[in-house]
C-alpha cells in the first residue's frame, strides 16, 4: 500500500489541486529615484500591469522627514507619499548606478512608519565601475530588506511579473 506521501506526490494527483485564486492581488508601488530610472519606468508603464503603480521622487533636496505631497506620478501629478506607502503591499525603489539615491531615505522612513519592507533595485549596466555602483548602493543599504543589482533593465519587468504586478 502506498504511503500518504507517495500517493499525494504522484503527477496524477496534481489535477485535484484546487483551481481557485490563492491570494488577493497585491498593490506594488515602484518609485524611480533618479532621472534614468524614471525613463525605465516610463517604458515599463506602457505595458499592461494590473497591480503596479509607477512613481518618481521630485527634483530638489529631500525633506528631513516624509511629507504628504512629496512624490509624483510619471505624468507629473503630485502624489501623497504617506498614502501611497500605506496602500502598498510591496514597495520597490529603482536606481541607476552612479546616480544619487539619497531620496531612498525619505521613502524608507515612510515604509518604516507603516511597517512595510523596502526592496531596492539598482540597474548597473555591464561594465559599470565599482565606484559608480558604490555611490548608489551605500545610501540604499541601510533601508533595503532586499537589494538587487541587475545588469539589464529587462530584469525590472521580470521581477514585477514574478511578483504578479
Amino acid at each position: 500500500m502506498l504511503s500518504e506521501s507517495a500517493r499525494a506526490t504522484r503527477a496524477s494527483e496534481s489535477r485535484f489541486r484546487i483551481d481557485a485564486p490563492n491570494a488577493r492581488p497585491r498593490a506594488i508601488k515602484v518609485i524611480a529615484l533618479d532621472v534614468p530610472s524614471e525613463g525605465v519606468l516610463r517604458r515599463l508603464a506602457e505595458g499592461a500591469w494590473e497591480n503596479a503603480t509607477f512613481l518618481r521622487t521630485p527634483a530638489g533636496a529631500a525633506p528631513a522627514q516624509p511629507v504628504g505631497g512629496w512624490l509624483a506620478g510619471l505624468a507629473g501629478e503630485t502624489m501623497n507619499l504617506i498614502e501611497e506607502i500605506a496602500s502598498a503591499d510591496t514597495i520597490v525603489t529603482l536606481s541607476t548606478a552612479g546616480e544619487n539615491s539619497e531620496m531612498a531615505g525619505v521613502v524608507a522612513e515612510a515604509c518604516r512608519a507603516q511597517g512595510k519592507l523596502l526592496t531596492a533595485l539598482i540597474l548597473d549596466a555591464d561594465g559599470g565601475s565599482e565606484a559608480n555602483l558604490l555611490k548608489t548602493l551605500v545610501p540604499l543599504r541601510p533601508y533595503a530588506a532586499m537589494l538587487v543589482v541587475a545588469h539589464g533593465e529587462d530584469y525590472v519587468e521580470t521581477m514585477l511579473t514574478a511578483l504578479r504586478a
Binding site: 506521501s5 506526490t9 503527477a11 548602493l137 541601510p142 532586499m146 541587475a150 521580470t158 511578483l163
Partner: protein, 428 residues
C-alpha cells in the same frame, strides 16, 4: 510566478527541448567513481536528461557511457557480459566497444563488415574528483573539463555523495539558492549538527533572525548574500554562489569543511542531488567523514545498496511529530538534506509555478530563473554559449565574512569569493 511556457522551458531537459540543449552545454556529474570501481566490473544503468544510458568500464579500464539498449532487438545491455574490451549482448551475442561501436555480429560473416554499420550513441565519460563526468552535447562544442575547486583537492580532503530526489531538478536548485528558508526549516541543526556546530558565525545567525538579502550577478550566475548585524557597526555576510546550470555552494562555518551541491536532472520528475564537502588546506578528519557517512550535515542515510534516502516518500520521510512539537526538527523530518527534499518533493513532480506567490525575498530565485531563461533563449536563437560553461566561472567560493557596513559584499569579499591556492576559505 512563471508563465506555463516559461516553467516548461526551465523544467524540461529531455532531448530536443531548449532546456535540454542548455543542459547539454555543460559537463555534468553522471556517476560516482565508486560505481565503476575496476575494469570489467558490472555495468550500471544511468538515466540523465531523460536518456537511458549504460555506464561500464572495459578490460583496459576505459570508461563508457552509451545507449542502454542493443541495436539488434532492443535488449538492455545491463545484462551484457563485460569481456575482452567489449560488452556482449547475451541475447544474440552482438558486441560493442567503449565508444558504442559494434565490433561483432556473430550471425553475420565477419568479412561482410556488417558490424561496422552499427554504432550506439555514446558520450564521453571522464573521472575527475571522485566523479564520472559526462558531456551530452554536440561534439563540436564540447567545452574544457570542469574546474571546481573541490575536484582538485587531494582525495583525503574531499567527500562526495549523491542521493535520489523525486522531483524536478529546478525545485531542488531553488531550495539551494533560497537563503531565507534556513532560519525556519533548519533552525534546529545549527547548534547540534556535528558539521555545523561551534562556529562563531552561528551566533550571528541565531542572534539576528531577520537577515537582509542582496543579489548580485556574476559571470557564471549569481552571488546571493545574506546579511546580519555584527558588532562594531559591521555586517556578518553569508554568500552563496550559484553557477549555471546547477552548482551551488553553502557559506562555510568556522573551520568546518565547505559544502555544496549539484542538482542534475535524471528526467523531468527526478534528479540527482549531488553533495560534496572539502577543505582546500587539510584532510577531512575521521570524525567528519564518519558524520558524513552517518547522514549528518547535508548528507542522508541510504536504503542499503542504493542511493535512495532511507527516509523517503514511501515511509512518509519517517516524520516524527513529537520532535516537531518539541522543536527539534521544525518539519518533523530529521536531517537538513531530507528536510529540504521532503518539502520539495511534496510540491509534486513538477510544481505549477503559475500558482505561486513570490515575495521580495525571493529575488534570488527570480533572478536565477531570469538568467537561465535568457541563456536558453540566446543558445536557441543565436548559439551563444551559456554562462557557467567556461571553467573560469567554476573558480568561485562561498564565503562567510564580517565587513564594514558601507562595503558591497562583492567588493569587500572579492578575494574571498575566488579560489586562491593555499588560502583557507573565508569563514567565521
Amino acid at each position: 510566478m512563471l508563465r506555463k511556457e516559461q516553467n516548461d522551458l526551465l523544467t524540461q531537459t529531455g532531448p530536443a527541448t531548449p532546456g535540454g540543449a542548455f543542459f547539454r552545454s555543460y559537463w555534468l556529474p553522471a556517476l560516482l567513481a565508486e560505481e565503476l570501481p575496476e575494469q570489467e566490473c558490472p555495468p550500471v544503468r544511468v538515466k540523465l536528461l531523460s536518456e537511458r544510458l549504460l555506464a561500464w568500464r572495459d578490460s583496459q579500464g576505459r570508461l563508457s557511457l552509451m545507449d542502454e539498449f542493443c541495436a539488434h532487438r532492443g535488449v538492455s545491455l545491463w545484462f551484457g557480459r563485460n569481456e575482452e574490451n567489449g560488452l556482449r549482448c547475451p541475447y544474440h551475442g552482438w558486441k560493442y566497444d567503449h565508444t558504442g561501436q559494434c565490433i561483432d555480429v556473430p550471425s553475420e560473416p565477419e568479412e561482410s563488415g556488417y558490424c561496422k554499420r552499427v554504432k550506439l550513441k555514446s558520450y564521453p565519460l571522464v573521472e575527475k574528483g571522485g566523479i564520472l563526468w559526462t558531456y551530452m552535447g554536440p561534439p563540436e562544442t564540447q567545452p574544457p573539463l570542469p574546474d571546481y575547486e573541490f575536484i582538485g583537492v587531494k582525495p583525503e580532503s574531499r567527500f562526495v555523495a549523491k542521493r535520489l530526489q523525486e522531483c524536478n531538478w529546478l525545485q531542488a536548485l531553488e531550495g539551494g539558492i533560497d537563503s531565507s528558508h534556513v532560519s525556519w526549516l533548519h533552525r534546529g541543526e545549527l547548534n547540534t549538527d556535528p558539521l555545523f556546530k561551534g562556529a562563531r558565525g552561528n551566533q550571528y545567525n541565531l542572534g539576528d533572525a531577520r537577515p537582509v538579502f542582496e543579489v548580485v550577478e556574476s559571470p557564471g550566475g549569481l552571488y546571493i548574500g545574506a546579511r546580519r548585524n555584527a558588532e562594531n557597526n559591521q555586517y556578518y555576510w553569508r554568500i552563496t554562489p550559484w553557477v549555471m546550470p546547477c552548482f551551488t555552494m553553502i557559506a562555510p562555518r568556522g573551520n568546518h569543511p565547505v559544502h555544496g551541491h549539484f542538482w542534475v536532472p535524471i528526467d523531468d520528475e527526478n534528479c540527482w542531488a549531488w553533495s560534496f564537502d572539502y577543505h582546500p588546506l587539510r584532510a577531512l578528519t575521521e570524525t567528519e567523514v564518519q558524520a558524513m557517512q552517518d547522514g549528518k550535515g547535508i548528507y542522508v542515510k541510504f536504503v542499503p545498496g542504493s542511493y535512495r534516502p532511507l527516509a523517503n516518500k514511501d515511509n512518509d520521510y519517517l516524520i516524527d511529530r513529537a520532535a516537531q512539537k518539541a522543536g527539534r526538527y521544525y518539519s518533523g523530518v530529521e536531517g537538513i538534506a531530507m528536510q529540504d527534499a521532503s518539502l520539495q518533493e511534496s510540491m509534486g513532480p513538477i510544481v505549477d509555478r503559475t500558482k505561486e506567490n513570490l515575495v521580495s525575498t525571493d529575488n534570488g530565485i527570480i533572478m536565477a530563473r531570469h538568467r537561465m531563461l535568457k541563456a536558453i533563449k540566446s543558445l536557441q536563437d543565436k548559439g551563444v554559449v551559456p554562462p557557467g560553461v567556461d571553467p573560469a566561472h567554476h573558480r568561485v567560493r562561498s564565503a562567510a565574512v564580517v565587513l564594514p557596513q558601507d562595503q558591497p559584499f562583492k567588493e569587500g569579499a572579492r578575494e574571498a569569493l575566488t579560489v586562491r591556492e593555499g588560502v583557507a576559505p573565508a569563514s567565521v
